[in-house]
Symmetry: C2
Subunit: 160 residues, 2 copies
DNA sequence: GCTGAAAGACGGACGTC
DNA sequence: GACGTCCGTCTTTCAGC
C-alpha cells in the first residue's frame, strides 16, 4: 500500500508536464514526448508506464466530432426522481446505462437528482428516444430537456 | 465542397468500427487496429488518416484520473445571468474561460444559462475559487453549486 | 487492397552518477 | 534510484502495382 501511495505522492514537475502533454496529444510518440518534457527516451518511457500502471492515466481515447460522424443532436436532461430509495436509484441508473445514446450520466447532490447527456442523429430520433424509453423509466418524476447552445469551454485538460 | 461532403457520407461500417475502436483505445497501433477491423494494414492506415483529415477524428487525449492526480474535488455550477445581452454573455464566457479550474462550460437554452464543471484539489480550494473569482463575475445573478455524487455513465464512446 | 523498403519508434540491457 | 546511451525488433509510412 505504501508503495502505491508513494507513487502518487512522487508525482513531480516532469510528471505533470507529461500529463499535460498527453492530454493535449495522446498519440504522440514517446520520442516526441521526451523532447517536449526535456528528458531522454528511456526515463520518459518509464514514467509514462508508471503513470499508466498506477492508474493516473486511465486510458487514451480518440475524440470524435459528433456532427461530422452523423450525430447532430445533443441534449442535456435533468432528471428528478419521485422517491429517494435505493431501488429507485438502482432502476433509474440501470435503465440509463442501457441506452447507448446516453453518453454521460451523473448522480448529483441536491436537485436535480441526475444530469444526463444524450446524443442522437436528429431531433426526431431524440423525440422517439424520449417518448419510447426515457419517459418510461419507473421512478422518474420529472424530465427536463435542455439543448446546448454553445460549448464555451470544451473538455479542457485537467490543471495538473 | 462535394468532395468534403462525399467523405462524410462515405462513412461505411468499417469506418464506424474504426471510430469505435479508437474511442476505446486511442493509442493502439495501426497494425493492431487493422486486425480488429478485419482489414489489412495499408487501407486501414489510409482510412484513419482520412478520418483525421476530414475532422471526424478531432484528436487523441489521455484520460487522467483526477483523484489520483491530486484533484479530488469536482463540482457542477449552474449559472444564471442577470441580463440577456451580448456583452453580458461575452464577459461571463471570457471570465469563465480564463479560469483553468473550469474544465467544461456550456451555454444552454433556457434555465440555467450556463452549466460549468470545475475541478480543484479540495473543497477549500473550491471555496477560495468561488469567493475570489466566481462570485466576482459581473452580470451573474445566481450561482448554484452541485456536487457530483457518482458517475453513473462516464464519457461513453459515441454510438456511431 | 496488397507488397516491399526506408525511416523511425519501441523497449530492453547496461553503464554512470 | 533515476538518468542516459546503445541496439535489435517491430511499426509506420509511402512508394508502385
Amino acid at each position: 500500500m505504501l508503495g502505491l501511495f508513494g507513487r502518487f505522492l512522487a508525482m513531480d514537475a516532469i510528471d505533470k508536464k507529461i500529463l499535460a502533454e498527453l492530454q493535449r496529444d495522446g498519440r504522440q510518440s514517446i520520442t516526441e514526448l521526451a523532447e517536449r518534457v526535456q528528458l531522454s527516451l528511456s526515463p520518459c518511457h518509464r514514467r509514462v508506464r508508471a503513470l499508466e500502471a498506477s492508474g493516473v492515466i486511465e486510458g487514451y481515447h480518440a475524440v470524435i466530432n459528433a456532427k461530422k460522424a452523423g450525430l447532430g443532436f445533443e441534449a442535456l436532461l435533468f432528471v428528478t426522481i419521485s422517491r429517494s430509495d435505493s431501488s429507485t436509484f438502482a432502476t433509474v441508473e440501470q435503465q440509463l446505462a442501457d441506452i447507448p445514446e446516453v453518453v454521460q450520466a451523473q448522480r448529483l447532490f441536491g436537485e436535480p437528482d441526475y444530469l444526463v447527456k444524450v446524443v442522437t442523429r436528429s431531433l426526431e430520433d431524440y423525440q422517439r428516444l424520449f417518448d419510447e424509453r426515457l419517459t418510461g423509466i419507473p421512478g422518474v418524476e420529472r424530465l427536463r430537456s435542455t439543448l446546448v447552445m454553445r460549448n464555451v469551454v470544451s473538455d479542457r485538460p485537467l490543471p495538473v
